[in-house]
C-alpha cells in the first residue's frame, strides 16, 4: 500500500461526491455529496501525513479541523432545510429561486 493507492482512493471518493452534487435536485443528497468530498480531502491529508510529513501531528490536526467544520456546516444546513420545508413543503433546488426573507 503506497501513497498513490490512497490518493486514487480519495480521488474516487471526490468524483462520487462531485456526481452527487451535480446530478441531484434534493438538498439532502447534495449535502451527502459535500460530505463525500470533505472525506476525500481528509483521506488525502492523512495519506500525505503518513508518507511524507516530517511531523505526523499536523495532518491529524487538519483532519480534526475538517471534521469540526463539517459538523458546524451540517447543523446550519439542516436548520435551513427544515425552515425551507416548513415554508414550501419542498427541498428541490430548482424551485428555490427567490431571496425574499
Amino acid at each position: 500500500m503506497n501513497l498513490t493507492f490512497f490518493l486514487l482512493l480519495a480521488l474516487i471518493l471526490f468524483s462520487a461526491g462531485l456526481v452527487a452534487v451535480m446530478s441531484r435536485r434534493n438538498l439532502v443528497t447534495i449535502l451527502v455529496g459535500i460530505e463525500l468530498m470533505l472525506n476525500a480531502a481528509s483521506v488525502n491529508f492523512m495519506a500525505f501525513n503518513f508518507f511524507t510529513a516530517p511531523d505526523p501531528v499536523v495532518g491529524q490536526i487538519v483532519v480534526l479541523l475538517i471534521i469540526g467544520l463539517a459538523a458546524a456546516e451540517v447543523a446550519v444546513f439542516l436548520a435551513i432545510l427544515m425552515v425551507l420545508y416548513r415554508a414550501r413543503h419542498e427541498v428541490d433546488v430548482e424551485d428555490i429561486r427567490e431571496l425574499k426573507g
Binding site: 500500500m1 501513497l3 498513490t4 490512497f6 490518493l7 486514487l8 482512493l9 480521488l11 474516487i12 471518493l13 468524483s15 462520487a16 461526491g17 462531485l18 456526481v19 452527487a20 451535480m22 446530478s23 435536485r25 434534493n26 439532502v28 443528497t29 449535502l31 451527502v32 460530505e35 463525500l36 472525506n39 481528509s42 483521506v43 492523512m46 503518513f50 508518507f51 511524507t52 511531523d55 505526523p56 501531528v57 499536523v58 491529524q60 490536526i61 483532519v63 480534526l64 479541523l65 471534521i67 469540526g68 467544520l69 459538523a71 458546524a72 456546516e73 451540517v74 447543523a75 446550519v76 439542516l78 436548520a79 435551513i80 432545510l81 427544515m82 425552515v83 420545508y85 416548513r86 427541498v91
Partner: protein, 167 residues
C-alpha cells in the same frame, strides 16, 4: 499480509458505498450508504496510523452527523418518496466527473512524491502530542473551531426555531 487485506476491504467498502450514495434514488438509502463510506474511511485512517482520528471520525461523523441527517429527513421529507432524476443531468455530471477523474489520475500517476524512507517513530504518533499541539502552537485553530461550532449551533437553533409570521 493481513494488513493489506484489511486496507483493501475498507477501501472497497468506502468506494462501493460512495458510488452507491452518488447514484441511488432513495434519500434514506443515500444517507445510510454515506454512513458506510464514513466507516470505511475510518478504517483507512486506522491503517494510516491514527486510531484517535479514526475514533473521532466514527463518533462525530457517524454518531453525530449521519444521525442528525436522518432526523432532519424524518422531520421533513417523506421517506417513501423517491426523487426523480433528470437523465441528462446524471449523464452530464458523470461525464464531467469522469473528465476530472482522468485528469487528476494522470497527474497523480506521473508525479514523483518525496516519500520518506521509513514511517515516523511511534512516540510521535501518541495522542498526547495532538493535545499538546492544540494547546500550544495550534491554539488559534482550537479556539477558532470552538467558537465556530458555538456560533453554528446557536444559529441553527435560532433559524430552525423561528416562528412563521402570518402573511
Amino acid at each position: 499480509m493481513i494488513e493489506t487485506i484489511a486496507v483493501s476491504f475498507f477501501a472497497l467498502l468506502a468506494i462501493g458505498a460512495a458510488v452507491y450514495a452518488a447514484l441511488v434514488r432513495h434519500t434514506l438509502h443515500c444517507i445510510i450508504s454515506l454512513a458506510v463510506t464514513l466507516f470505511g474511511v475510518a478504517g483507512i485512517f486506522l491503517s494510516l496510523g491514527s486510531p484517535f482520528v479514526a475514533a473521532m471520525q466514527i463518533l462525530i461523523y457517524i454518531g453525530g452527523i449521519s444521525v442528525a441527517m436522518v432526523f432532519a429527513l424524518m422531520l421533513s421529507v417523506s421517506l417513501a418518496r423517491k426523487v426523480e432524476h433528470s437523465f441528462r443531468k446524471v449523464v452530464g455530471s458523470i461525464v464531467a466527473a469522469g473528465a476530472f477523474f482522468t485528469a487528476m489520475a494522470v497527474l497523480i500517476m506521473t508525479t514523483e512524491f518525496p516519500v520518506r524512507e521509513e514511517p515516523a517513530p511511534a512516540e510521535q504518533w501518541a495522542v498526547a502530542n495532538i493535545g499538546h499541539a492544540f494547546l500550544t502552537n495550534y491554539n488559534v485553530v482550537f479556539i477558532g473551531l470552538s467558537l465556530t461550532l458555538l456560533l453554528a449551533i446557536l444559529a441553527a437553533v435560532l433559524v430552525a426555531g423561528r416562528e412563521e409570521e402570518p402573511s
